[in-house]
């Protein structure tokens, strides 16, 4: 469903955020991307959402190579993908209902036509009772769930989420993950960037670890890398002068 082929992303300034990354997320899979800060998780998701384009390599989503998606076609492309953001990215000048309805309105539905789908989406995140409230009056976890409802309201086949639980306490995080799990059970392909290894392990999903823009070698499987890393750390300690 999501195929990353030998992708490099060099930001202006010369930093390589992704470095020949290749990975594949099967249809109906729920996969987590982990890695240290600056590993390139957000960059990867940005390339999938076509917020940015790869410097080289291919990003193929549901059979579409993003290289072929011209500027004019980006909106239609994005409408096929649900996106959840760490900072929710809600519109605070309108009630929850309107926020969730937005993707449908963009797709050309009237508010009334959107109503049933919006309520179904809000029901799935247990926020049906808050549809008339302004997002400002909601807790962070509730806002995140509104963001999720908005991402799934048009029933995308693919959902990507960048640290969706970054600001939430463990209980709320687990709840959000359970919601994702339920979407996955009805066939949605999910790719989620997260730091929360304990939570991921609890869910038992596949995990892709990034390090410095490429797939990380799992440490327990590579004692040499671990050894080198330790040597480097010691080396740094020795040369570090206050």
């Amino acid at each position: 469903m999501i195929r990353i082929e030998n992708v490099c992303k060099r930001y202006p300034g010369g930093h390589d955020a992704l470095n020949g990354l290749s990975l594949h997320v099967e249809k109906g899979e729920m996969v987590f991307v982990t890695g240290h800060s600056g590993a390139g998780k957000s960059t990867l998701l940005r390339l999938i959402a076509l917020i940015d384009r790869p410097t080289s390599g291919h990003v193929i989503v549901d059979g579409q190579d993003t290289r072929r998606v011209t500027r004019r076609k980006i909106p239609a492309y994005r409408r096929q993908i649900g996106m959840v953001f760490q900072d929710h990215k809600l519109l605070y000048d309108r009630p929850v209902f309107d926020n969730v309805a937005l993707p449908l309105v963009i797709a050309g539905l009237t508010h009334r036509e959107a109503g049933r789908k919006v309520r179904a989406a809000l029901d799935q995140v247990s926020l049906l009772s808050k549809e008339k409230q302004s997002p400002e009056t909601l807790s962070s976890g509730e806002q995140q769930r509104v963001g999720i409802a908005r991402a799934i309201v048009s029933r995308p086949k693919v959902l990507i989420a960048d640290e969706p639980t970054g600001n939430l306490d463990p209980d709320l995080s687990l709840e959000v993950m359970r919601i994702f799990r339920r979407f996955n059970e009805v066939g949605v392909t999910l790719l989620i960037a997260s730091h929360d290894i304990a939570l991921i392990d609890q869910l038992g999903c596949r995990r892709i670890a990034l390090a410095d823009g490429s797939l990380a070698v799992e440490k327990e499987e590579d004692p040499v890398a671990e050894y080198v890393e330790r040597l480097e750390a010691e080396n740094m300690r020795d040369t570090w002068q206050p």
Partner: protein, 303 residues
């Protein structure tokens, strides 16, 4: 109603709602546009009324062709027939020297003194009234041709100033056209600038909307409607201002035309002109907001 129409109506209503949430700022913008539109509209009305008034003076635009004193009454009579056949002339009347003297005697009060004159010093005179189809230029030519008649001594147009007045009105009309163009450009700039600020203030909203798949046309639409509302509001306000101005002037104008014992009533904007003013408000609003959106919207992309 089609879904398309419903979408547009709801966008338009939403744009109006957004404006009404900042009533003061919105009204200021509408006020500026209204006054700017009212200016050329009022000037146009002034000229239009002046043209109506001066049209009634066109009757006064007669030529007096004074014939040489050696032209006999019979020759003068023949000349009347010849000149009267011209297509560009409505009528020719002959005032014989005797009639002229008689008239002068009655009006001047020199009756006694005139009796002592042995010869009539006055010439025969043709009063030529040009046809209504004449233009400034053809009137000028006619003047020249009448002067070149062998029998003519000289031609006098007492009402030269009417033509000057027409010329001035024409210049004024053109000046108003130029001024209107400039003011239209000013309105586009005003609306464009207001929309630009609005776009900047809603930058985040635009980014988010684009992020979840909105096209440029979709994010642009509310701003276009805001521009249209500004323009329509300005146009209607301009009509109200002009209407009020006429109302305020009605009494003095009546008093003035009473002094002239003329039945002049100032004409107001007719339906077509009113529609043009409101329509240009809407058009300028649309153009201004379109330009602003085209310039500033494209650059806002999700990061």
């Amino acid at each position: 109603m089609s879904a398309w129409a419903i979408r547009h109506i709801s966008t338009a209503v939403a744009a109006l709602g957004r404006l009404s949430r900042q009533p003061f700022a919105s009204l200021m913008t509408v006020l500026v546009i209204g006054v700017t539109l009212a200016l050329p509209a009022a000037m146009h009305l002034v000229v239009k009324n002046a043209q109506i008034i001066s049209a009634s003076w066109d009757n006064a635009l007669d030529f007096s062709v004074y014939l040489r004193t050696d032209v006999t009454l019979e020759d003068a009579q023949r000349l009347v027939d010849i000149v009267g056949q011209r297509a560009d002339i409505e009528s020719v009347t002959l005032i014989s020297a005797a009639d002229a003297l008689e008239e002068f005697r009655e009006q001047s009060g020199f009756g006694e003194a005139l009796d002592h004159l042995s010869v009539n010093p006055l010439p025969h005179t043709l009063v030529v009234r040009p046809g209504a189809a004449n233009t400034e230029i053809s009137i000028g030519l006619l003047n020249e041709e009448l002067g070149n008649l062998p029998e003519a001594d000289f031609v006098q147009v007492d009402t030269e100033w009417v033509r000057r007045f027409h010329a001035i009105l024409n210049i004024l009309e053109r000046a108003i056209a130029i001024g209107t163009t400039l003011l239209a450009a000013a309105i586009i700039v005003i609306i464009g600038n207001t929309i630009r600020l609005d776009i900047q203030n809603r930058r985040e909203e635009i980014e988010v909307t684009k992020l979840i798949g909105a096209s440029n046309a979709f994010v642009r639409r509310p701003f276009l409607y805001i521009g249209v509302w500004y323009g329509l509001g300005g146009g209607l306000l301009a009509l109200a201002l002009v209407g009020y101005g006429l109302y305020a002037l009605e009494e003095p104008v009546l008093r003035l035309s009473g002094l002239y014992s003329s039945p002049f009533v100032a004409v107001t904007l007719d339906l077509k002109e009113s529609l043009i003013i409101a329509g240009s408000g809407v058009t300028l609003g649309l153009v201004g907001s379109w330009l602003a959106a085209a310039r500033h919207m494209r650059r806002i992309e999700p990061r």
